[in-house]
Symmetry: C2
Subunit: 445 residues, 2 copies
Amino acid sequence: MSVSDLEGYHGETHRRLKAANAKVGNIIKITTKTGEVYEGALFPMSEYGDPSHIVLKLKNGYNVGIHYEKTEKIQVVGIGQKPHFTRPPPPPRQSGLPGVSIISTGGTIASRVDYRTGAVQPALTAEDLASVVPELASIAEVEADILFSEFSENVTPSQWKTLTEEVARKIAAGASGVVISQGTDTMHYTAAALSFALQNPPVPILFVGAQRSSDRPSSDAASNLTGAVALAAKADLAGVGLAMHEDLSDRYIVAHRGTRVRKCHTSRRDAFKSINASPLARYDLQTRQIEYFEDHPRRNTNQILTLKPEFDHHAYLIKFYPGLNPEILDAAVRAGARGIILEGTGLGHVSKSCYDSITRAVKQNVPVFMTSQTIWGRVDMNVYVTGRDLLNMGVVPLEDMIPETAFVKLAWVLGQTKSLDRVREMMLNQIAGEITQITSIMEEA
Amino acid sequence: MSVSDLEGYHGETHRRLKAANAKVGNIIKITTKTGEVYEGALFPMSEYGDPSHIVLKLKNGYNVGIHYEKTEKIQVVGIGQKPHFTRPPPPPRQSGLPGVSIISTGGTIASRVDYRTGAVQPALTAEDLASVVPELASIAEVEADILFSEFSENVTPSQWKTLTEEVARKIAAGASGVVISQGTDTMHYTAAALSFALQNPPVPILFVGAQRSSDRPSSDAASNLTGAVALAAKADLAGVGLAMHEDLSDRYIVAHRGTRVRKCHTSRRDAFKSINASPLARYDLQTRQIEYFEDHPRRNTNQILTLKPEFDHHAYLIKFYPGLNPEILDAAVRAGARGIILEGTGLGHVSKSCYDSITRAVKQNVPVFMTSQTIWGRVDMNVYVTGRDLLNMGVVPLEDMIPETAFVKLAWVLGQTKSLDRVREMMLNQIAGEITQITSIMEEA
């Protein structure tokens, strides 16, 4: 029995399957301790799978994962076939196309699927990608690397730095554009981080992900990747953005500004929305045309990229709610906070029960900034007494910056300077399109 | 000099104005210590104003507030008129109209404005309301009370209880509907609270507020109040909702379900949106017709209202973000948390760096629940390893409940039972339309 016979299984699941003489692709019958019976083709365990489970593809097409502790008996009832990943030859490379670097950081943006077992194999190399998404070959000369492989919820500010430096290397090496694949959960936080850390970028740097994994027929992975690569290769854009489905139509991939975008749905393919701003551009997958929205930074290869990749771990984001125990604010200060973003209510308010803790924080040189949990709109702390009280305590309103971007910016600003005055000043200075200047706002309805 | 000559001023501002022999309505010239000069009509200080400021209405129509510490000299340069609030006689009461109780808890839903000085006087009694919003007299027999007067960001779970009991009294006294005016910042939290605390309500109970204060020509106060009173009086609805502008058109007032609504803009009149659900009904201000959306609980005067007004102060809501210091979770437990709502990413994830703190919380009998900061959509913790890890630690996914409602529900559930099992069970039981049962969900795109 070769290693690949039980591909991906380790420890106890591997031991039990081996004892049953099971091989990936065999038809297996598992009887559980509670008497349930499952019959289906044995899946290989993916690197993202839970190693304590045995995964079967049932006849009805669904997959089931059964914890090894629940298995009473495992029998091979049919000799199946190992999943077979066909790789059609990639289309021939075309010369003269713009070079696009794809950096993979986790999440499976493209994969090959064995449709008999449903098994999935991530496609991460340039050759894999070219084979799985053949459109790419007619759009750009694609180069692909795996920088790290992490669920996006585990990505930390130190990895923002690693990624910033890698993108800079790709740009220095002459890429016409960079595409970064990441799991979608915190993709907007990472996009905001790189927006601040990569200054004066000459070319577009676009994050891309998939809301439905690439092994599902409804997956948005290939179309998002195609759109992101096309925009990175050809759009007259510079700076950091995030390219995903514009709506449910499968026709447009829209690039949002990295500091203005937010994941607004757990599962829809059009989950990402530009907040308080219009997107940058969109790519029509049918006509291959690019359309631009309002102002957008332009591609300019004479621009010299400046790297400011340091982030500080002592930025905190605290969401207010009725009855919030102000002790949580004190706890953040005690834990070493060098700055706090409040996610207040409405125009930028928190309860007066928080006043003492806020005053203490400010007195201990921990600057406190205000954003709104309404997400849309602009804070205005001059309208009500509460806002004016907070201003008097030294709370700094962050205009129409969204809370997530404000948090990322604070982590970045704290990485750039130790001066408190400079921190307050930088938070209000426009760095990467994260603030709409008040003078340009029309009266809202 | 009578008290009303310096209406609303107290302490130092009152002393200085009195010394200058100034009266509300006089034209006052204030020279500041830094040499600026302001000239305008002296405003009365509103109960919501900042008592350390003197407020003038300048000739250009704008108001300015000047802190007393900044004033160098105060002179009366013209004898103006005190603001004069005309009260047109309210329209005659019509007999046979449904009775609606309006309970005011803060925020100025209606006011009289003296357009010369811009001074505002809140209209809170039934007579005032009838005079300021004369449409009401043809819709319902309105009775109005002030329960408390608090900015909504200061409203606490104990006030949720007070309000619940007051609403029950109004229903017991035979109201055909109840309208509660509140500041909009946390109106959706209060609406969720009453949704859980008032069970089997026979009539509609509708929160209402104004995004633009009633002294501004663009105010939505009167139209929101008219719509809320009409729906409370006549709609075939029962239960707690929130009635505000549907869009920017000034035509429709829409009633959202109290557990499904969220303030999604700092300033727009259509800031409140139903999340993961359709609204209950809408009122057409032009035709006076009521239109219903899908299922909605029906008015039923045979229903016996049950009061469950207890809320526990030991519920916590914690929003996750990349690099969150898990110490904050431990701090919540140390501060006495009896339950924690996590606002995770995507389908319901947090970083593995939080695992130890979550495990500790659960072991210390602090149940941990998962919602998503995407706001829209449903958590599903079976898709990825992170979700399954968290499930294994005992984290309970809260389906498509929005984080704010989940927090309020937790505070309420903790007020109902000391049993941990019962807390977990009640959090997942449908109480007031806060969860969409999975079987009724269509596959989303």
